[in-house]
Structures are given as structure tokens and as C-alpha cells.
Amino acid sequence: MKWLALMLVFGLVAAACGSSSETTEAPADTEAPAATEAPAATEAPAATEAPTDTEAMMDIATDFGVDLDAGVIRVGMLSDLTGPFGPLVSAILAGTQAYWDGVNAAGGVNGLQVELVVRDTVYVIDNHIAFYEEIKDDVVALGHSTGSPHTVAINPQLQADGMLAIPLTWYSGWSDPAINANLLSHGTPYCVEAHNTLGYITTEALPDSTTIAIASVPGDYGQDSAQGAKLAAEAAGLEVVYDGEGAIIPTDETTLTAVADGIVDSGADIVWVATTPSTMSSIYGQALAQGFEAVWSGPSPSFSPAFVAPDSAIKDAFTRDFIGGTYTSLWSDDATSALGEQLAEAGLPPSDYYFEGVVEAQIMHAALLKAYENGDMTRAGVLAAGKSLDNVDFGGIAPSEAYAGDAADRLQRQGTVYKPDPDGLAAGTSGGTVSLATNYTSDLAANFDFTGACYTLGG
């Protein structure tokens, strides 16, 4: 039994070694398949100027996460890599990493290399808070913070620390100036997105539709989207014949059957479902099995390219029925082709989700450049710089964003409307989607009188 004690001692020693290296950051990963090319022209705010002179650098104020001597900027990422949105966020993060690899290979941000400090929160709020606490003094800003309740949970701390964060959620409540003091939200909020996509369907795809069925998961994402769909239905004169807002419980199979039955019984022309990919395929499959036919639609997280993969049972029917909305251009769009080549070279398979990561990285890039220009790369400096950006252009990957000025004025209403593309997916030329309209704003979305969050997160 002595060996057990020995093992314990060995374990403790090993653990102590691990922890003492806490502050020793791993150097930039040389094995990573860094894109050796200069960033493509589409990567908008890339500034690959001549190496900076040390004189100018010394004038720059820094506190956390920026080390001018080592030439490093550290950016934190609170990601859900193994939780419910794991596959999605992993791809987003891969896009972010590929973008920074490109920037770093081309000389970095004015000579400073950007390193990501990634933590997997598994979409658990406690982890989110604990990891924030762990990395906050190592990073200058958060490149993304996954999940609305999670981001709300660290928000007081963000404000106390003067830390900038990019929320990886499209909750419509981010428009509230009291909430977004430290946040750079981007893309069309779920609620407006529902207006946009349904606007496209009611004018372009199915103009004679009269009824709609709505179903969603509970929480900020599902219910914000469902509320948007209801408002849009009212504005478009659609009758809501089935209301399953918050009725889909991913862990409870019976709710999926109930929702599918409700949709079928309603006989709706249009079905709006805001849920997770696995539950979407189950609900759609059950409705299809009952011979139900309609135009199905939903926000980006409802769709997965796996639905139209060559071995998918619902491939043909889903391709026929589905029209989706998303925030960025697609892999199959011309606007992303240069970037797509670069990603493919890094060994990444076609997917639309990388571009969200690239957009996040571009916002951060613009904020860092501006902070450098201002000579203040402290946390507060980067926050101020980010909040003063009056035009972040993504080179066609996504509609441009502005953060200076009044939050309500700069509500993003543009998005991409797409349909599934099984052939492109099989051939490796698309991420399983092809766009119907890019940088599109439907009349429904343009005329939507947005006065505040469509769904309020409990106080």
C-alpha cells in the first residue's frame, strides 16, 4: 500500500509543478498551421506597417495583458467548446485563431503578436465566472464571452475592471446602454433577425402565406427569437396558429414530440423554430413523418450542415423546406473566398461558422489598433478605443458596425438569408449553405420599431 502514498506524493508534486508555471505563458504555438500568407485584403483593419520603433512603443501605457518587451498582446476567450453549443463555438474559435495566425505571421498588431487565452466554460455560469477571475489579469480584453446569462453574470465585474468584452450571443438586450457599457455586440439581434428572415419569406419565398407556427427553447436565445417572430407575424399579418415559445426542453424528449405534434396540427404555412441542431432535426423529422409540409425557418443555431450531409435521412426534404437566417456571409459567397482559401490551407473543412470568429477578431483588431494609436493599451484604454470605433468594416464578410454614439441608432438590421446546399457540402465547395440574399434588410426588419429587449433576462 506504500505505492499508493507514493503515487499521491507524486501527484502532489506534479500538481505543484503545474501550478507554479501558472504565470509562465506558453509561447506562441509554432506547430500550429499558421497561415503564412499575408492576410487577405478582405481582412479589413489589418495594418501590417513597418516594424514599430521602440521609442514610440515606450510611450504606450499598459497594465494587464499587453507586454511591450515580449511583444505580446493577450486576449481572453470564454468559449463553450464541449457544452451544448460546442461544435458551433469550436468552429467560431478556429476562425478567430486562423485570423490572428494570419495577422501574427504578417507582423502582428503594430509588431505585437496576439495570443489567445482560451477557457472552455462548458456553458456553465459558475465556470464562466471562475475562468474570468482566473484569466482577467492576464488579458487586456475578452475576444468573446459565450452565452447571454453568462455574460450578464460577469458584467458587473467587467464594469468594475474596465474590461472590454465581445458577447458571443445576439441577445436584443445588448442594445441597452446600461448593460452594454463594456460590450461590443455585433450582428442582427435574434429578435430583429426573425423579422428579417420572415420578411424575406413572406415577400420572396411564400407571399401568399397566412399562418405561422412558432416554437423555441427557453431562455434568452430561443425566447428572444420567438418574441421577434411573433412581432414580425403581427406586422406581416400572419396568424400565429401554434405558439410553442419556450416549449422545447432539449433534455426532455417528450417536449419535442409535443411541439412536433402541435406544429403538424396547426397546419401552418410557415414554421419558425429557434432551438439547437439536435432538437431541430428531431422535431422536423417527426413532423415530416406525419406528412407535414411547410416552409421551415429559424436562426443560425437551429441549423446544422449535418442535416444535409450525404448520409442524412432528411437531406432532400430539408433542402426543399428550409430557409434560414444568419449573421455573416457564407463559405460559398464570393466575399469570403480569399479568406476561405486561407482557412482551407490551415486544414479547416468548409464551414460558415468561422466567419463569426473572424468578425469578432476583426472588431478586437480594430479596437487594439485604435488603442495603440491613442497610446493607451491599458484595459480602460482598449475599452475606450473600442467604444469610439465609428466604423468597423468587415470587407463584405458581415455588415459593418459602429460603436460610437447612441446604442439605439446603430441597431444592426442586415443579415444573410440562405438555403441548404447538400451538393456544395458533398463537393466541399460550401458549408452546406448557399445564400439567397446577402447584406439583406427586409421591409419588415427595416420598419420594425425597436424600443428595447424583446425578451428580458430575469433581474
Binding site: K2, G18, D29
Partner: protein, 419 residues
């Protein structure tokens, strides 16, 4: 009897909580160390700590994130102490601990959270914290009678059901819980006399000697010590012995005159009280929680704490919490250290290379790279480790970490005559 260790001449000294000098020395050194820790390690930018020096060898432990982690350990310690009363002492296997923690958390929210769109009365902590325990205990007493009828695996299934019933209620009672995946704010750990007064103790803002996390940790450490003393004392009383008699053989216990119904009810009540308090503290410590927080995984985590720490012992419950809660951080830091070694090259790199994937084309057991590559993430690895550790401890060391400590202690006690 000076100079004669382990010779107890009275029942009192034999049953004393700290019946040997070694125990006293170890406990008080540890406590002194833990109390001192958050005051040290100042000097950094914007730091408010009292001392600029650090305790040699333990400077890293005084870091903000470690203090926060140790605060979490204290809360799980209280929860585990409660489960230990029920499962470790009275032998009633319960998977429902997360449910009682949830009850405590939402009682705290109802009474303590600020008035707003969701239920909240803005009461101070000295009302909501005991109330959280009492309400949970009340529910525990209601559930208790089932334990008289069913035992063992069947009781585990009954209590398992509680977790799912609870989750259903928590998800759907939107005015109280904020609803599924949305959650609500909870009262913070602030001590005040009445509602609107300035807080006497405020663990949500830096003080002049301590940081936020330092204050939170000390506050929770104090509560842990109080609850540990309480648990240890319950164990030493007639009640504790009755629990153990029921655990060892309930029929025999009843024949000896132990009122099985009464004591099983009491065990459930006491354990739920601990759970309620721990749940309220957990929610208050992090400030925001969704109804899905009180799920089966939390119950399993607590069972793991007991089994790894050593069921039936007070120190085992606390040791287990420290181990289970801090393990992920150690694993993560270890992985990052290895990743750094691989980048540098050398002998450790050769060993570590097959274990760790550093790019999405590199194979490795652990994947440190975000993206689509193969391998387990650090947190998935942790879940595997929990499972592995439970199995290993059950097979090789049923008394858990406490058992290992006993072995080490006994080895040195008899040294050099260890046979």
C-alpha cells in the same frame, strides 16, 4: 497523562474532538495559514492587500482566482458535510442533494434578492441564509419517510427522481427562478442589519486590507468551520451514534431501541439543512444562476466528493471537496505547462507530445487547441478522472483520502517499527 500519547483515561478525552496534540497542531496551523493567506501577496497593480510579502512556497495560492476557487471549496465542503450526515453516517444513499441545494438557493433569492420584476424581498443575510436551510430541511423531512420504506438502491432512485421534479419546477416557476437558460440574480454575500443600510461586511467590493475574493473566502471559511464543528458534534452525540447504528444494520438498531423513523427523518432534515445553506451560498457567491444548475451532475459531484474524501468522516468531506473542486485547475495548469514544454522541446516534450494535441492535425489524448481537432478537452478529461478516481478509491481505498491519511499517520506513528 503527559508523554503518553493515545492513552485516554476518560471517556470525555477519548471522544474529544481533537484528542491528540498532533491533531490540534495540524488543525490550528492549517487554519492560521488559511486565515493569513488572503492578507498576503499584495504589491501588484491596484492591490489592496495588507501585506506585500507572501507565504514561502504558497504565493501562488494567494492569487485572486485561487482564493475564489477555495471559496467554492468551502461551499462544497458545507454541502458535502450535509451529505455525509445522511449518506456517510446514517447510510442513506441520496442523489437528491442538488434538489435541496436548489430549494435553499431559491428560498434565499425570494427572501434576499432585491425587489424587481422577479420575486424578491430584499431581506438581509441573517434572515435568508438560515431560512434557506430551514425551508430545505422542511422539504427534507417531508421526503424522509420514504427512506423508512425503501433503502439502498431504491432510495437512490427515489431521491434521483427529486432532482428531476425539482428541475421541472425550477424551470417553469419563472417569477421565482427567471426561467430555463435565463436565470436570475441572487442576493450577494453582504452582512447588514436591515434592508437598505450600508453593508457591515461586503464581499462584493475590495476593502482596505482584503480583496473581494479574500473577503469572500474568509467569510465562507468561517461558515465552513462553524458547520464542520456542528457536524463533528452531531457525530459524537447520541444522535450520531444512532445514525451509525442504522447505517450498520437498521433492523439491529431498531431492536436496540433506536427509533428508526425518527432518526431517518432527522438525518434527512439535518442533511437538507446543510444542503439548503450551501445552495444559497453557492448562488449568492456567483451572483447569478440558471435553474439547470441544480442538476444530477451536481449530486454526482457531491457523491464523488464523499467517496474520494472518505465517507463518514468530517475531514474526509472537506478534503474531498478541496480535491474535487481544485482538480480541474491543476489538470489545466499541468496541461498548459506541458504544452509550453512541447514548444520548447527537450525530454519532457518527447514524453508529453503523444499525450497532448497542439494542433488540429496532431494526435493527442488531451486537446489544448480550440477547434475541430481530436482528443479530450481539459474539462472532459476531468470528468473521466472523476469516474476513474471513484472506481480506484472504491477498490483500493474505501476510506478515501482520509484513509490514505490514516495510513500515512499510522506509518509514522509506529516508525521505525512499522510492522
Amino acid at each position: 497523562m503527559r508523554g503518553r500519547p493515545n492513552l485516554f483515561t476518560s471517556y470525555e478525552s477519548d471522544q474529544a474532538m481533537l484528542n491528540t496534540t498532533t491533531k490540534k497542531v495540524i488543525l490550528f496551523t492549517l487554519l492560521a495559514f488559511l486565515v493569513l493567506l488572503p492578507f498576503t501577496g499584495g504589491g501588484g497593480p491596484g492591490n489592496v492587500r495588507l501585506f506585500d510579502w507572501t507565504i514561502p512556497g504558497f504565493g501562488w495560492l494567494a492569487a485572486e482566482s485561487w482564493l475564489q476557487l477555495m471559496g467554492t471549496v468551502c461551499i462544497f465542503g458545507i454541502a458535502a458535510l450535509g451529505l455525509n450526515l445522511l449518506t456517510g453516517l446514517a447510510g442513506q444513499v441520496s442523489l437528491g442533494h442538488a434538489f435541496f441545494m436548489g430549494i435553499g438557493a431559491y428560498t434565499a433569492a425570494w427572501l434576499g434578492a432585491a425587489e424587481g420584476p422577479l420575486l424578491g424581498m430584499g431581506m438581509p443575510i441573517w434572515i435568508w441564509l438560515p431560512a434557506a436551510g430551514l425551508v430545505a430541511a422542511g422539504v427534507g423531512v417531508l421526503v424522509g419517510p420514504t427512506a423508512v420504506r425503501v433503502r439502498g438502491l431504491y432510495l437512490a432512485i427515489v431521491t434521483l427522481g427529486l432532482v428531476f421534479i425539482g428541475e421541472y419546477f425550477f424551470r417553469n416557476w419563472r417569477t421565482l427562478t427567471g426561467g430555463s437558460q435565463a436565470g436570475r440574480d441572487f442576493p450577494r454575500l453582504q452582512v447588514r442589519f436591515w434592508k437598505e443600510e450600508a453593508a457591515l461586511i461586503d464581499t462584493t467590493a475590495d476593502g482596505s486590507w482584503l480583496t473581494t475574493n479574500g473577503k469572500g473566502f474568509l467569510f465562507l471559511l468561517f461558515l465552513l468551520v462553524v458547520f464542520a464543528l456542528l457536524a463533528k458534534n452531531i457525530q459524537r452525540t447520541r444522535t450520531g451514534r444512532a445514525f451509525q447504528a442504522i447505517r450498520d444494520r437498521d433492523v439491529a438498531a431498531e431492536i436496540m431501541g433506536v427509533n428508526e423513523f425518527r432518526y431517518k427523518l432527522l438525518a434527512f432534515g439535518l442533511s437538507s439543512f446543510y444542503a439548503g445553506v450551501a445552495g444559497a451560498l453557492l448562488a449568492a457567491y456567483f451572483g447569478r444562476t440558471i435553474p439547470e444548475r441544480w442538476d444530477l451532475f451536481l449530486s454526482v459531484q457531491l457523491i464523488a466528493i464523499l467517496l474520494i474524501g472518505g465517507a463518514g468522516t468530517t475531514s474526509g468531506a472537506i478534503l474531498g471537496s478541496a480535491f474535487v473542486i481544485m482538480l480541474p485547475r491543476f489538470v489545466q495548469n499541468g496541461t498548459e505547462w506541458l504544452k509550453g514544454q512541447i514548444a520548447e522541446g527537450g525530454i519532457i516534450a518527447t514524453i508529453a507530445d503523444p499525450i497532448i494535441a497542439t494542433s488540429n492535425t496532431d494526435f493527442g489524448l488531451i486537446n489544448t487547441l480550440p477547434g475541430t481537432g481530436p482528443g479530450l478537452s481539459v474539462l472532459q478529461l476531468n470528468q473521466v478522472l472523476y469516474g476513474l478516481l471513484i472506481i480506484l478509491f472504491l477498490i483500493f481505498e474505501p476510506f478515501g483520502l482520509y484513509g490514505i491519511w490514516l495510513r500515512i499517520r499510522n506509518y509514522w506513528k509506529g516508525w521505525p517499527f512499522t510492522y
